[in-house]
């Protein structure tokens, strides 16, 4: 299809042919596009069909409506969103000042920090959670007589397992590092800070008023990646025995197969919606100045 469109283009404006480069026919593009579309869309379509086409009942959206009534849906989703919010807040509060300081004060340490922040990609979550589990078991035994014992209990509160937030902060580091690094690369942090300082801004003001607003895209990116990570994380939560959204999906899939696939499709759509919203938000920030 793409090929036929391309070939028709030069014939409609032959006069411009001498000026424009002759349009080349690239049939491979169409083939690759079609291949990729098949690869992504076929499983998705199959999932959708599986959820709406119930044998003997015809097409019904029953599986989707049932989602909201199912036990544990709201609480697990809320838990996941709360965990995501806490993770985003902590990882950004940790990384933004650290990376700005790195850029201004010790640019030579950048490779070291990059490697450290990439480690979570190398360590498999299963190994990571095994380590955390060991510490959680070992800690209370050795610290039973100290106030730290209470801490160990508190971070494992099933209503809000803070230990998961700690784990997710570590797991989000590679993504957040990369997003922020790209944002900081796009601007001259040192000059902006110095310009703000010569305008009478102290250090905190220079950061908040001059650097952060120009990092908005990067902050949104980092937040989104972290959100996606936390919503989809299964291994750590499951092995530590908590029940956020991903664990809940797996648990219901055993008893209600259609429902769990419907939830997956729904969460995919929600993720897409968030991604589009982010793109729209970032895009508007770039075009808004023209108005």
């Amino acid at each position: 299809m793409a090929g036929s469109m391309n070939t028709s283009a030069p014939s409609t404006n032959t006069s411009a042919r001498g000026l424009n480069k002759p349009v080349r026919v690239r049939p491979w593009r169409g083939v690759v596009l079609a291949g990729a579309a098949l690869y992504f869309l076929v499983p998705l379509a199959a999932s959708v069909i599986f959820t709406v086409d119930v044998p003997g009942e015809g097409v019904t959206f029953d599986a989707y409506t049932r989602i909201f009534g199912t036990d544990g849906f709201v609480s697990s989703l809320l838990l996941s969103l709360e965990l995501a919010a806490a993770t985003i807040a902590i990882v950004l509060l940790l990384m933004v000042p650290a990376m700005v300081a790195l850029r201004l004060g010790a640019p030579k340490l950048r490779p070291v920090v990059e490697v450290v922040c990439s480690l979570p990609l190398v360590v498999p979550p299963i190994a990571f959670v095994a380590g955390i589990g060991t510490v959680l078991k070992w800690g209370p035994e050795h610290l039973s007589r100290t106030p730290l014992f209470q801490t160990f209990t508190a971070i494992q509160n099933p209503d809000f397992p803070f230990v998961l937030v700690l784990a997710y902060v570590v797991m989000a580091l590679p993504f957040v590092y990369r997003a922020l690094d790209a944002g900081l690369r796009a601007m001259d942090v040192r000059t902006l800070v110095e310009a703000a300082r010569s305008c009478g801004a102290g250090w905190p003001q220079a950061l908040v008023q001059a650097v952060l607003p120009n990092l908005r895209g990067a902050l949104l990116n980092a937040s989104f990646l972290t959100l996606a990570l936390v919503l989809g994380e299964f291994t750590v939560a499951q092995l530590l025995g908590f029940q956020p959204f991903a664990v809940w999906i797996v648990n219901v899939s055993g008893s209600q197969a259609q429902l769990s696939v419907a939830v997956s499709v729904l969460s995919l759509l929600v993720t897409w919606a968030l991604l589009l919203a982010l793109a729209g938000f970032g895009g508007r920030s770039r075009t808004a100045p023209r108005g």
């Binding site: 601007m187 902006l192 110095e194 310009a195 300082r197 010569s198 305008c199 008023q209 001059a210 607003p213």
Partner: protein
């Protein structure tokens, strides 16, 4: 009109003094005991090759660098330990430094916002400053919509917004194209004179320094070589380095004997102190060298460059030294490459330097 109201408010021109500033970055010495004073209301250019410490000196006055030893004084008050945001110095940077997320007006008003000036008041003052730099109609534009020259104008307005006692310009024109550079150069000078603000201007472009500044401080390897008015710097350079860095200089070998120097078969008085050794180089400006077509002459024209009204002719003397001379173009037309000529100097005192 607006300029005069600003004028009254801003006049409190400060004296700036560097005393024995020293700063090392690892093995390199950026400043090696710099002493320099800027008088109230003058435009002082810091001129020198790259790495001579001129930018470091400026950044010390802004508070972005701290000296290993020595002090910075503004109106006799030691500000060496005062943090940058309390220095009362407006700065324009070499690279475009406007805040990309703010409009031109908000950029100019940024400092006033930091000082908690009321919104209406700071917008009015920012608009006034934008008028002053000729961008009254661009208040709503964002930096990426402005040309390089316009951005530097806004940066200048921003630097002036807090009525600083000192204005610091760190090669503000070097990123601009030649034509914009010339107009902005004049504009900065006009504004600076209208406001009567003490200004330090860092540049590596000698033409820029000579044409704008009240005085020019030539620096070399972290030290001050000479600080003088442009005409004096050009006409009576204190050192051979200044002579050769500012304008074009040719060296012609000569021989000193009792206060006079023998050069090109002439005997001319020495200007200033003669160096100890008798073998010296005489330093001459191209406009002071006379070249005459002479079939018996032992010098040869090797090249000529057309400069407009004048043509710069390069002549190789019998012993191999090359001398540059500016001739009226109609005279130079007769002197093609390879023509035999004689070279002479006017009967005036000449500068001499040790032979290198």
């Amino acid at each position: 009109m607006t300029a005069t109201t600003l004028d009254k408010a801003a006049v409190s021109a400060a004296t700036v003094e560097f005393r024995g500033l020293r700063r090392e970055f690892g093995p390199t010495v950026a400043l090696d005991g710099l002493d320099l004073t800027a008088r109230p209301g003058e435009l002082l250019a810091l001129l020198g090759p790259s790495g001579c410490g001129k930018t470091t000196a400026l950044r010390m006055l802004a508070g972005f660098e701290h000296p290993d030893s020595g002090e910075v004084l503004v109106d006799g008050e030691d500000v060496t330990r005062v943090p940058a945001h309390r220095r009362d110095a407006g700065m324009v940077f070499q690279s475009y430094s406007l805040f990309p997320h703010l409009s031109a007006l908000d950029n100019v008003a940024f400092g006033l916002r930091m000082r908690k000036v009321r919104t209406a008041e700071r917008r009015a003052r920012a608009a006034e400053l934008l008028d002053l730099v000729g961008l009254g109609d661009k208040g709503g534009s964002f930096p990426h919509q402005l040309s390089g020259g316009q951005q530097q104008r806004v940066a200048l307005a921003r630097a002036l917004a807090l009525r600083p006692r000192v204005l610091l310009l760190d090669e503000p024109l070097s990123a601009l194209d030649a034509k914009v550079r010339l107009t902005l150069r004049e504009e900065i000078r006009r504004l600076q004179q209208e406001l009567g603000i003490t200004t330090l201007f860092v540049t590596h472009d000698q033409e820029e320094a000579l044409s704008m500044a009240d005085r020019v401080a030539v620096m070399r390897a972290g030290r001050l070589e000479q600080c003088a008015a442009p005409a004096e710097l050009y006409g009576r350079p204190a050192t051979a380095f200044v002579a050769e860095f500012v304008g074009t200089m040719s060296r012609i070998p000569g021989r000193v004997a009792d206060g006079t120097v023998e050069v090109l078969g002439q005997r001319l008085p020495v200007d200033g102190d003669a160096p100890g050794a008798p073998e010296v180089d005489v330093l001459v400006r191209p406009e002071a060298v006379r070249v005459r077509a002479d079939d018996t002459g032992d010098a040869r024209v090797v090249a000529s460059a057309f400069l407009g009204a004048a043509t710069r002719v390069t002549v190789r003397l019998a012993h191999g030294t090359e001398v540059k001379a500016d001739l009226p173009t109609h005279e130079a037309a007769a002197l093609g490459a390879g023509s035999a000529v004689t070279v002479s100097l006017p009967e005036r005192p000449v500068l001499v330097a040790e032979r290198v």
